[in-house]
């Protein structure tokens, strides 16, 4: 029974949100507000169950796993106090105290990122751009593999350097620097195009998943009804198009490029 009701509620909410594709409407606004409310409550639970309870309360106040010996770790009162200080944001008179907690979090973050970022963003990436490093697996390979690999290694190198030149801010893009930056922007465009193309697949499969839910998984009444529902929706969309074609929208600015 719970599943039956759930399926229909889910199908209804799905259609309500999809209706946004046509335009903003009361159904979408209902779903949107419900979504925000429910998700906030979910976040509260998530924070409680995965952070506050096991990491804070479970370390200082209560033994959560009675089978194991436990003693309170009072060091963890420090983040508790800082967390409360953070909440002084709600009281305008002592709002400035929250800066201590902020400074703690932000200072920690600043120190924490430097080492790993240098290692994995800078050093590792730099190292992997040297043609000699990229050619290691192909040393001694036959020419039919060696030559394409060599060309690829050189192209990779040139691409990295030109993109770096594009991100030079101290000089106007003129002359040699300008030329390199021009190549750099082309490389970036190829990268963005390729990335766009491969992401299309991910996004479309998400809609396929939703469509499958409407067409096939909406048990127990099964395919027939949901298919009807779907067709109804499509007809509604087409009608809407025709209706909009007939009467030019009044007072609404057409989306410009």
């Amino acid at each position: 029974m719970a599943t039956f009701i759930g399926t229909w509620i889910a199908a209804g909410l799905t259609l309500m949100i999809l209706s946004f594709l046509y335009r903003d409407n009361p159904f979408f606004r209902f779903a949107e507000h419900l979504y925000v409310g429910v998700s906030n409550a979910y976040i509260v639970w998530l924070v409680w169950a995965t952070i506050v309870l096991p990491d804070f309360i479970g370390r200082v106040f209560i033994n959560l796993d009675p089978a194991k010996p436990w003693s309170p770790d009072y060091w963890f009162l420090v983040p508790g106090v800082l967390g409360l200080i953070m909440l002084t944001r709600m009281v305008p008179a002592i709002e400035w105290m929250s800066r201590w907690a902020l400074a703690f979090v932000v200072g920690w973050g600043a120190g924490f990122v430097i080492g790993p970022v240098l290692n994995s963003y800078l050093l590792a990436q730099l190292y992997a751009s040297f043609p000699w490093v990229n050619m290691q697996p192909y040393l001694g390979a036959p020419a039919s593999e060696y030559i394409p690999a060599l060309i690829n290694a050189v192209i990779l190198f040139v691409c990295v350097v030109t993109v770096l030149v594009y991100f030079f801010f101290s000089y106007e893009h003129k002359g040699v620097i300008g030329g390199a930056a021009k190549i750099g922007i082309w490389v970036l465009m190829v990268a963005f195009g390729a990335s766009f193309g491969s992401t299309v697949m991910a996004r479309v499969s998400l809609f396929i998943g939703r469509a499958r839910f409407l067409v096939q998984d909406a048990e127990p009444t099964g395919h027939a009804f949901s298919a009807l529902l779907t067709l109804g929706l499509l007809i509604a969309i087409i009608t809407a198009i025709i209706a909009r074609r007939r009467q030019p929208p009044a007072g609404e600015s057409e989306p410009a490029e």
Partner: protein, 278 residues
């Protein structure tokens, strides 16, 4: 300049392109298996009956369309080969339910018994700690499985008290950044080979792991799921989806081409006009 009716036409066509192949399935275009997917398939195919593998259900419902068919295909393959399967979820609490559902469905279909042939371990936060712990003792970390049953005398966990040394393969179906920790804390110290499945978005990212051999197979997005289904010989949701996917992509390319033709015609008309004026 795009008028709204063009936008709606595009939307409607996409909706049709997705819905119609799902309602009326067909099978025309072969989905050639790629080297990366074959890496996972061949490893599982080479295992002996009675071996144990781990399948990590590290995704939640938001990436279900891509990764759930992959999970089903891998499980079907494993149960077909009479392997024991340990499911685990370390991504988020919402993924456990999906793992339970998939294991129960496919396990039931193949006549496998929960607790004997497979088990689904629930979600635990703090991924690195959990991975290194179950590498040396599962039951210590998981007193109960995802269904709340005690693990103490579960036959599959008697046979496989820990991952290290006992399992022959591990597949991580990851929506997020779980492959890295599984490589670092699980497969590398535990000494078992590892494969990964991911969404099409992070597919390009994980190539670095595949090239370095830290994972021996990589499945990216719906296409890989469809390939795996085809390899297993039981087409399912992903293969059905690939038709829609193909048509939508082709439609999109067609629209781009048409858009460009219109654009250039308008441009040449404008030029001609300007030329006429001059």
């Amino acid at each position: 300049m795009v008028r709204s009716w063009e936008r709606y036409l595009l939307y409607t066509l996409i909706a049709f392109a997705v819905f119609l192949p799902l309602i009326f399935p067909f099978d025309v275009w072969p989905n050639l298996p790629t080297r990366e997917v074959l890496g996972v398939f061949n490893t599982i195919d080479g295992l002996q009956p009675g071996d144990t593998i781990v399948v990590a259900v590290d995704f939640d419902p938001s990436s279900e369309p891509e990764l759930y068919p992959m999970l089903l295909a891998v499980l079907r393959h494993a149960f077909n080969k009479n392997l024991y399967v340990i499911g685990i979820n370390l991504f988020g609490p919402a993924g456990t339910g999906l793992g339970v559902k998939a294991l129960t469905d496919i396990g039931g279909e193949m006549g496998k018994v929960d607790g004997e042939d497979y088990v689904m371990l629930g979600f635990k936060p703090n991924l690195p700690a959990v991975i290194s712990q179950i590498n040396s003792d599962i039951k210590e970390m998981y007193r109960s499985d995802a269904n709340g049953r005690p693990t103490a005398d579960m036959p599959i966990l008697q046979r496989t008290p820990k991952l290290q040394g006992n399992i022959k393969y591990m597949v991580d179906l990851a929506a997020g950044e779980t492959v890295r920790p599984w490589v670092a804390y699980g497969s590398a110290p535990g000494g078992y080979p590892m494969g990964a499945g991911c969404t099409a978005v992070s597919f390009a990212d994980y190539f670095s792991f595949y090239q370095s051999g830290q994972i021996n197979g990589l499945m990216g997005g719906l296409k890989a799921a469809a390939e795996y289904e085809e390899l297993v010989g039981k087409k399912g949701a992903a293969s059905a989806g690939m038709n829609s996917q193909s048509i939508v992509h082709a439609l999109l390319v067609l629209f781009i081409i048409i858009g460009n033709i219109i654009f250039f015609r308008a441009l040449s008309l404008k030029r001609a006009e300007e030329g006429g004026r001059a």
